[in-house]
Each structure stands twice: as structure tokens, then as C-alpha cells.
């Protein structure tokens, strides 16, 4: 470790004058800001690819009956949409933001392991090229849902080994990213930056990184078992050979539930940065935020079977998982309370990052409430595998995780580019997204309660109206995201010059460096009093 840290210093002495010229800069870079930029662009591109898949799904569901796509292709779309959005959009965006901001927030010159950092990014495009290429293979891409339950997933055609191998690659990439983040936080904090002085984005990422290191390997193990079941005659999940397909679900969700918290905790951190800035107040209950995050992370390991209430469990198991799941609402409630209290009597202004943070607080909470409904075992028997579940996780993920990310991007964009973005375009982006995201996902609660199953390309006619509304919302939301792309490109090209502090109420080390942030920051580390 020490050797690598000196290496980093050595590198930075080497190209003191800024980035290497030409395209090779991006291939060979070990600079945390470059790598952050790569991650963020990658995530944005995947966001549009995954979005197109969602529009295929919603177009087919515009009317009952089968009209546009073949059902098998529909299933490939639901599966790939989820895999792309989870592993290609939300996780890389978080890692990108961490790369850009984490060293600057704790006063470190770079990430602790810059070469590994380069690797962990560059594995991703290859992993996804492989995963997306399965759509062109004999028998089509994976179509058994992102949860890959056997025996169905074992019926995947030629795509199967490619799918498994690409999941391995994505796992390796995110484990390396997470280890890098832990090492950076542990070893490279500026003198005086104690743990309890770290900004919350750093804290939430620190905890998320541990979750990643702990559960991604479990997923890798589960998919490896699928692979050997299919090709090497093992029978982990094959009842004929003494295995059990239900065991896959236990292993998968042991990964899967912590995974959904991996998808939200860094957004909690982002919102906890943004709200104090635009309320011009310190974050209310800083230490309770830290403990709440840690307890959410801990609890996330003992609730996994709430995804399996209907699979068959003894009563004691159903009750245990019901109560532990409901327990998670307590630390989550603490967080929401603290955000609201931070705003209480603050001098609030409503620039775009703040709008997205507020949208997050309101709509994430809606998703939390539907989660609580699903947590009640007897009720879940009715809701499981319906659109109600789809509504739940889209509320926590789209106006939750994704709004946190977009808010963070607006918040730091002036620091990255040195220019202010267009506030009117930003506000338009927020309002259009917020209107359409609700048009898109709110009706799903109703069709779900009425019994419309998820992952099916056809439905009975009584669900038609709500589905039409949802599809209109989907197209509106999808096209609104083009505004984000336009806004970012315009902001990179020019605009009103940003000050170093950018926002009046902003506090923290990242606002002490100039805008745009120089290629190397904090080479002599600052001292925090």
C-alpha cells in the first residue's frame, strides 16, 4: 500500500502540467478526475440505452394484446433493462461521483490505488459490450429476469455463459472500485479530517463500499453455481440431483437486498450534502445520520427473504423477515426526519440541485411507504410479482437513487467545468422529469393492486387505461432526459464563470479549490482544524 501511495505521488510529479494530450489520455489515465468523468459519461450513455429498452417495454404495454414485439424479446428487454440500469447506470454513476469528489472532500491528492482505478473503469465497457452482444446471439439474450432464477434461467441459449462471464466482470470492477474507496478513506484523509468530520457523502460511500465488498462475491458465487449446473453436471439447484432451486433464491437475495441499499446509500449522502447548502444551515443530526446509515447497512443482511414470502417458508421465518424488514423503516425515518429538520427555518433557495434533492425526499418516501406495505407478509401474498412491486422499486430507484445522482451532478457541475449551467434549462429538466415520472409510475400502484402481474407482455383489458397513462409518462420522462445531455454539453462549452465556492451556502474542502478544479488538487494536503 505504501509503495502504491508513493507511486501516486510520483505520477503526479511526473505530469504536473496537466493531462496528457490526445485520446490516449483517457485510456491510460490514473487521475481520479479523469476516471470520474469516464464513469459518469459511461453511466449517461448506458442510461439512454437502458431507457430505450424501457420504452420498448412500455410501447408493447400501451395496449392489451401482443402487437409490437415477440414475447420472448419482451422478456429479454425486461431482463436487460434491469441489468443495464443497476450495473451500468446507478452503480457506475456513484463510483464516478466518488472518484471525482471523494478525494477532494477529504483533502486527498488522488485515490489510493490509481492504477487499479483505471482497471476498474476499463473493465466495465468490455463487460457491457459482452452483455449487450448476447441480444444478437442464437436463442436471444437472457430473458429470465435480472434475478436469474433457475430452472428458467438455465434455459437461456448461447447467451448464457456470456451473461455469467459479464456479470463476473462487472462484479470484479465494482469490488475493485469499492476497495479503492475504502483504502482512500482509511489512508488518505487530510490531517485533522477525523471520521466524524467526514462529509456524509464520504460516509455513505464508505459503508456502501463495505456492502459491495461483502455481497458482490456472493452473487459471483451464485452465478458460478448456475454455470456449473448448466455445463459441468453439478446440481446445486437441480432437484433431480439432490439440489434445490429455492436455495438459489436465498443466495441471490442475500446479495440482492444489500444490493438495493448499495443503490440508495450514496444518494442519501448526496442529498445530505445538497440540502444543507441550499438551506444555509448545518445538517441536522450529523451523527445520527451516520449511525442510521450504518444500521441500515447492518439490517440489510438479515431481511433478504422478504423477497421470498410466497416461495414457502415456515411461519417463524415469515414473521422474522417481516419484522426485521419493518425495522429498516426506523433508521430510514430518522434520515427523512433529519433532512426535513435541516430545512426547518433555513434560508432556503431552490436551485436545480435542491429541487432534485427535495424531489428525492418526497418521492423516495412514497417508495419507502409502499415498501412497508410489501413488508407485511400476508399483504405481500397479494402484491408479490404484481406491478405494485414494480411501482415500489421504481419510486425508490428513479426519483430516489437517480434523482440523488442528477442532483449531485448539478451540484458539482460548476466545480467540474468552471461554468454555471443554465438554471432555466435545469429547472425545466426537473419539472418535466418530476411530472412525467409520476405519470409513469403512480398508475402502476393501481394496476398492481388490481392484480396485473409483472414481466408479462400482455394483460387483460381492464388494465388498459392505467397502462396507457404509464406509457405516455415513460415517453415524456425519457425525452426529458435529453435536456440533461444538452445542459451538460452546453455547460462544458461555456457559460457564466463559476466562483470557487459556487453556492452561497456551500461548505467543505471541495469548494476551497478553484473552479474548474485543477487537474491535481491537494498535493500538499490541507490541515483541518
Amino acid at each position: 500500500m505504501n509503495a502504491q501511495a508513493t507511486d501516486a505521488h510520483h505520477d503526479s510529479d511526473h505530469d504536473h502540467h496537466g493531462p496528457a494530450p490526445g485520446l490516449m489520455r483517457w485510456v491510460t489515465t490514473t487521475n481520479h478526475k479523469d476516471i470520474g468523468t469516464l464513469y459518469l459519461w459511461f453511466s449517461l450513455i448506458m442510461f439512454f440505452i437502458g431507457g430505450l429498452m424501457a420504452l420498448v417495454i412500455r410501447s408493447e404495454l400501451f395496449q392489451p394484446g401482443l402487437q409490437l414485439v415477440d414475447p420472448h424479446f419482451f422478456n429479454q428487454m425486461t431482463t436487460m433493462h434491469a441489468l443495464v440500469m443497476i450495473f451500468g447506470v446507478v452503480m457506475p454513476a456513484f463510483v464516478g461521483l466518488a472518484n471525482w469528489m471523494l478525494p477532494m472532500m477529504i483533502g486527498a491528492p488522488d485515490m489510493a490505488l490509481p492504477r487499479m482505478n483505471n482497471w476498474s473503469f476499463w473493465i466495465l465497457p468490455f463487460g457491457f459490450a459482452m452483455m449487450l452482444s448476447t441480444l444478437l446471439m442464437e436463442g436471444g439474450g437472457p430473458a429470465a429476469g435480472w434475478t436469474l432464477y433457475p430452472p428458467l434461467s438455465l434455459q437461456t441459449g448461447d447467451a448464457f455463459p456470456f451473461l455469467i462471464f459479464s456479470i463476473h466482470l462487472l462484479g470484479v470492477s465494482s469490488i475493485m472500485g469499492a476497495i479503492n474507496i475504502v483504502a482512500t478513506i482509511m489512508n488518505l484523509r487530510a490531517p485533522g479530517m477525523t471520521f466524524m468530520k467526514m462529509p456524509l457523502f464520504v460516509w455513505t460511500w464508505f459503508i456502501t463500499a463495505y456492502l459491495l465488498i461483502a455481497v458482490m462475491p456472493v452473487l459471483a458465487g451464485a452465478v458460478t453455481m448456475l454455470l456449473t449446473d448448466k455445463f459441468f453436471g453439478t446440481s446445486f439447484f437441480d432437484a433431480a440431483g439432490g439440489g434445490d432451486p429455492v436455495m438459489f433464491q436465498h443466495i441471490f437475495w442475500f446479495f440482492g437486498h444489500p444490493e438495493v441499499y448499495i443503490l440508495i446509500l450514496p444518494s442519501f449522502g448526496l442529498v445530505s450534502e445538497i440540502i444543507p447548502t441550499f438551506s444555509r444551515k448545518r445538517l441536522f443530526g450529523y451523527s445520527s445520520m451516520v449511525y442510521a446509515t450504518a444500521s441500515i447497512a447492518f439490517l440489510s443482511f438479515i431481511v433478504w427473504a422478504h423477497h421470498m414470502f410466497t416461495v414457502g417458508m415456515p411461519l417463524a421465518g415469515e414473521i422474522f423477515f417481516m419484522f426485521t424488514t419493518m425495522l429498516i423503516a426506523v433508521p430510514t425515518g430518522v434520515k427523512v426526519f433529519n433532512w426535513v429538520s435541516t430545512m426547518w427555518r433555513g434560508a432556503m433557495t431552490f436551485e436545480t440541485p435542491m429541487l432534485f434533492a427535495l424531489g428525492f425526499v418526497v418521492m423516495f418516501t412514497i417508495g419507502g411507504f409502499s415498501g412497508l406495505m410489501l413488508a407485511m407478509t400476508p399483504i405481500d401474498f397479494q402484491y408479490h410479482d404484481t406491478y405494485f412491486v414494480v411501482a415500489h422499486f421504481h419510486y425508490v430507484l428513479v426519483p430516489g437513487a437517480i434523482y440523488g445522482i442528477i442532483g449531485g451532478v448539478y451540484y458539482w457541475l460548476p466545480k467540474w467545468t468552471g461554468n454555471m449551467y443554465s438554471e432555466s434549462l435545469g429547472k425545466m429538466h426537473f419539472w418535466l422529469s418530476t411530472i412525467f415520472v409520476n405519470v409513469l409510475f403512480f398508475p402502476m400502484h393501481f394496476v398492481g393492486l388490481a392484480g396485473m402481474p409483472r414481466r408479462i407482455p400482455d394483460y387483460s383489458v381492464q388494465f388498459a387505461d392505467f397502462n396507457q397513462i404509464a406509457t405516455i409518462g415513460a415517453f415524456g420522462f425519457g425525452f426529458s432526459q435529453i435536456l440533461l445531455l444538452v445542459l451538460v454539453v452546453k455547460c462544458i462549452r461555456g457559460g457564466e464563470k463559476a466562483t470557487d465556492q459556487v453556492w452561497e451556502g456551500a461548505e467543505g474542502l471541495e469548494w476551497t479549490v478553484s473552479s474548474p478544479a485543477p487537474y491535481h488538487t491537494f498535493s500538499p494536503q490541507p490541515v483541518i482544524k
Binding site: M1, A183, G221
Partner: protein, 174 residues
């Protein structure tokens, strides 16, 4: 200088967790065995079955059902659909299976009992499910089964359903 942690130590966690993923397999089996979850039935020897005392005052309904795993080309059904039994007494019945293909096939029946709670009280002294079953082309076979219901079966259970799923295990053997 602050204490530095070694990255090498961090890599131990994912490697250990990968192992833990595999460790969940035996843990799961042991857990199911101990709790009798998952409908896995018990088996006892003939001799053990002899010494269990019979509860003449209680009658339990045992139902038999059958299903075929996807792609299995058999006809497979219980000879009787249900019987009334006294706990502690040995009973015999059978399933019949017909290989519908013009070639030799091997099948394996996997049992499951519901309610799950009853599984560990349902003991078999003889069962075709203990072994793989070899069939000649188009062969029909009678497959015997002998069982005892444990008198300790909880009082609130009056019906026990025994289900067999028949799997084609040819590909597994070749």
C-alpha cells in the same frame, strides 16, 4: 502519520465472501435437515419401524400426487389417490410409471411432503425414490413405497400430502 491499512487485507473480504456463498449450500441443507423444512421426508429402517407403537385412535389421511418435470417423457401416477392410516403402522402402496419413448431411459423421483411441518414425521422404509430407476424402451413399472407416519405427528395435522416429481436424468448420466 495515521495508521495505514493494507489493501491486501481488504482483498481477503471478497475472497472469503465468495467462499461464504458456497458455504451457504451445506448450511442450507443442514438447516433444512434439522428443522425438517423444505418437505424433505425422513427414512428409517424396517427394524425401527417395527418398534413404533401404533396409535389406533387416530386416523390420518395421506394423499398421493405426482408430477413430471418439464421434458420428462413418462406417464407417472399413484395407484391410489389417498388412504387413511394409523400413525405407527407400516403401509405399502405404489406408483406406476411408463416410459413413453422407444429407448432406454433413467428417471429419478424426488419426494416432497406438505404441510412442511409434517415432513419429518413421514418416514419411509422402502421407496423407489431412494434410487434412480432404469426403464427399457416403453417399459411400464410398478414402483413400491412403504411408509410409517410417526405417532408424534402434531395434533393439528390431519392430512398429509406426499408428492413426487419425476425427473429425466438421462442427460445427467451420459
Amino acid at each position: 502519520m495515521k495508521k495505514q491499512i493494507s489493501t491486501r487485507h481488504l482483498f481477503i473480504i471478497p475472497i472469503a465472501m465468495f467462499g461464504f456463498g458456497y458455504l451457504m449450500v451445506p448450511i442450507y441443507d443442514v438447516f433444512c435437515d434439522l428443522t425438517g423444512l423444505n418437505g424433505k421426508t425422513g427414512s428409517i429402517s424396517e427394524a425401527q419401524a417395527q418398534v413404533i407403537s401404533v396409535d389406533e385412535n387416530r386416523l390420518i389421511k395421506v394423499e398421493f400426487i405426482s408430477s413430471l418435470n418439464q421434458g420428462a417423457e413418462w406417464e407417472f401416477a399413484p395407484v391410489v389417490k389417498s388412504m387413511m392410516v394409523n400413525p405407527g403402522r407400516s403401509y405399502s402402496t405404489s406408483y406406476t410409471a411408463v416410459n413413453q419413448l422407444d429407448m432406454e431411459m433413467v428417471g429419478q423421483a424426488i419426494p416432497s411432503v406438505s404441510p412442511g411441518k409434517a415432513a419429518s414425521y413421514f418416514n419411509k422404509t422402502e421407496c423407489f425414490c431412494f434410487n434412480q430407476q432404469k426403464f427399457a424402451a416403453n417399459e411400464e413399472k410398478d414402483m413400491p413405497l412403504t411408509f410409517v407416519v410417526d405417532p408424534e405427528l402434531p395434533d393439528d395435522i390431519s392430512t398429509v400430502t406426499l408428492s413426487y416429481t419425476f425427473f429425466d436424468v438421462n442427460s445427467r448420466i451420459n
